[in-house]
Symmetry: C2
Subunit: 97 residues, 2 copies
């Protein structure tokens, strides 16, 4: 039923929605990185989450390169860089406390 | 150059890598949800991150439904449910403290 509502809309509309989606899910990790860096604390952040998430992003990167998709490759490269930076700060601040 | 290394591999290999990628980036939010719930604290978690991320996931969901992609729709539906649960707990615990 939901699919039936969306189907009369053109493909270009969904490509546009997809671009907004990729931009939001990618840049959302920037405020998280800044928050951890400013508070010098990452106790509430799950190490397992960021390990799994970073591994998943690395797989997305290989997938993007393999199928030759620039949007998948670029978006996941940026998100991976941010996720690894959060992971690095978490390990650093957790050790201090 | 990196693309040249990957290109001799078959498409089925990358579809497999893509499935691992989607599974990891989706389930990674479960340990984060459990951590917030157990600690009853989400101070180190960025509200802006989870607002932007949830909005982005909702866009991915519309995109998946629009282009008729079951993997995109299902993966983003599960991730959105987990992200909204973390957001709900963050708002709840932040108010208490």
């Amino acid at each position: 039923m939901i699919v039936a509502i969306f189907q009369p809309l053109p493909r270009s509309f969904f490509d546009w929605i997809g671009s907004i989606a990729a931009t939001c899910t990618t840049i959302s990790f920037l405020p998280q990185l800044l928050r951890v860096w400013r508070r010098k604390s990452a106790k509430d952040i799950s190490l397992l989450m960021f390990l799994l998430f970073s591994f998943g992003l690395a797989c997305w990167l290989v997938y993007g390169l393999g199928i030759g998709s620039a949007p998948i490759t670029v978006a996941n490269f940026i998100t991976l860089a941010l996720a690894l930076a959060i992971l690095f700060l978490k390990l650093r601040y957790d050790r201090r406390q």
